[in-house]
Symmetry: C2
Subunit: 291 residues, 2 copies
């Protein structure tokens, strides 16, 4: 049986819960506040920022967009970050990526305590480190994926999870978060030899590649019961699609007697990333305000 | 052909180079300084601390051992760390593990800039993060392993490295450091199912388990050309041995026409860990003194 992992629905539940929680913060003088810094005019970024804004509005979180022209200097962005780090009315700060090359890496200057994207090197280390009891800021996409797996009761202990893609913001932190749940984890990249042999040995396959519909049924075996598709690409007709050839995979599963799980694109990992961001903003606010 | 990866020899070369380097720091008022904090009377720890002291003496590095009774409070250790963090004559600080349960984790209070063991969560994140150009403090055992692989010209790009063991100080940082060299990496642990199937697919196998001679020829295939043994255990006769059944493995390689590499225990990874620590102390000193 094929189960669609409905990130849209799950994320809406999360946002609704947060909204109610924030409405109960009625003795507070101010609402949780997120500042998104954008540089330049990237159309995809605009869509992402708008989605974040909508989610904030849904939850009654203050949303501030600091917009810089793409000619801005690194120093100016750095100074803005410093100012926001020190501003006690700001709970979370993100620099919307991608940014011009000169500015790359400046997001590391965002305070570890306000790094709601979870991109700071310290927070990356924390995702890997095994202190299960501490509340920590984790990168949003991996956090959203872990939440989905939990909500669909997908066992991780002893399972072989194969991740394609080793970015600092998705693939690498996921490794740590999965290891800390007792999974066996393989991380593949563009240099991986015999990749289909490796992916076929996966119980759970996570794709974060950025290539439209690359992963079809030839990448998996009957063992593979769960596919999480992080990709957001456009197919040959311009339609949004993932890294996974959804139709081919689900067709190959049609006659399976096992429970199979797959995330759609759109409506899978994407909305969970935004919901995780909002969760992180509220976590920072609570720490900040010592609620 | 079987090649012994001689960590003892490599580490002596490193220490000799460092000694010469330090002798050239003749205009400096003081020598690089390492402080090792020990708690209690663990006999294995005493051996490790003595090895570190010997290495420091060889290189003309000041070695200071701050010894606490095992009844010491966490607060006292924490205060000592704070004092050493602020002492500008101290370049590197380590807390010799294991420590009593109450004190576990206090090593995270060691300044990121003086964390010559590379155990700080920020430095763990840094091992994972892909900024190749920045000089960073990396955990000593993984750093030593990477150095050995480099010195023996062992290609990592596209190779499948399987690591057994996922500790915060060996297995996890190694994942990142290997990924950043374009390897495909699998991390196994005690919950891994069909572990021999996975290890047999390794080009390079790294064991950090802590079980005497567990890994024998049934764990590998002809594909496996390199075995790095991080374990330091005692066999049934009380003799020091690794996680790998060295005799069984090398016997199975006897007729191979391929180049095979294996680290002995003792004399493999162990001395490289100490040499990496000394490298880290000198790196901190240089940053500190802006040499």
């Amino acid at each position: 049986m094929i189960n669609l992992v409905d990130g849209k629905k799950l994320s809406e539940e999360i946002l609704l819960n947060i909204k109610e929680k924030i409405e109960n913060f009625n003795k507070e003088k101010r609402r949780p506040t997120l500042v998104v810094i954008t540089v330049g005019d990237d159309p995809a970024s605009k869509v992402y920022v708008r989605n974040k804004q909508k989610a904030c509005e849904k939850c009654k979180i203050n949303f501030i967009n600091e917009i810089f022209d793409e000619s801005v200097s690194r120093k100016e962005v750095s100074e803005k970050i410093k100012e926001l780090n020190e501003n006690e009315n700001v709970d979370g700060i993100i620099l919307q990526l991608p940014v011009p090359k000169d500015i790359c890496g400046v997001e590391q200057e965002i305070s570890v305590r306000k790094d709601v994207d979870g991109f700071n090197i310290y927070n990356l280390g924390n995702a890997l480190y095994g202190n299960k009891n501490e509340k920590k800021l984790e990168p949003c996409t991996p956090l959203g994926i872990m939440y989905m797996l939990e909500k669909y009761n997908i066992e991780l202990k002893g399972k072989h999870v194969v991740i394609i893609g080793r970015s600092n913001i998705v693939g690498k932190p996921l490794i740590g978060m999965l290891l800390n749940k007792d999974a066996t984890v393989t991380s593949c990249n563009s240099h991986t030899v015999n990749i289909k042999e490796i992916t076929s040995s996966a119980d759970i396959l996570i794709t974060a590649i950025g290539k439209a519909k690359l992963v079809n049924s030839s990448y998996i075996s009957d063992k593979t019961d769960v596919i999480i598709d992080v990709g957001i690409n456009r197919d040959e007709t311009g339609k949004i699609c993932g890294d996974v050839d959804f139709e081919d995979i689900t067709k190959s599963w049609e006659n399976s007697t096992k429970q199979k799980y797959i995330t759609p694109v759109p409506g899978g990992v994407g909305p969970m990333t935004v919901a995780s961001l909002i969760k992180n903003v509220v976590m920072c606010y609570e720490k900040n305000k010592k609620i």
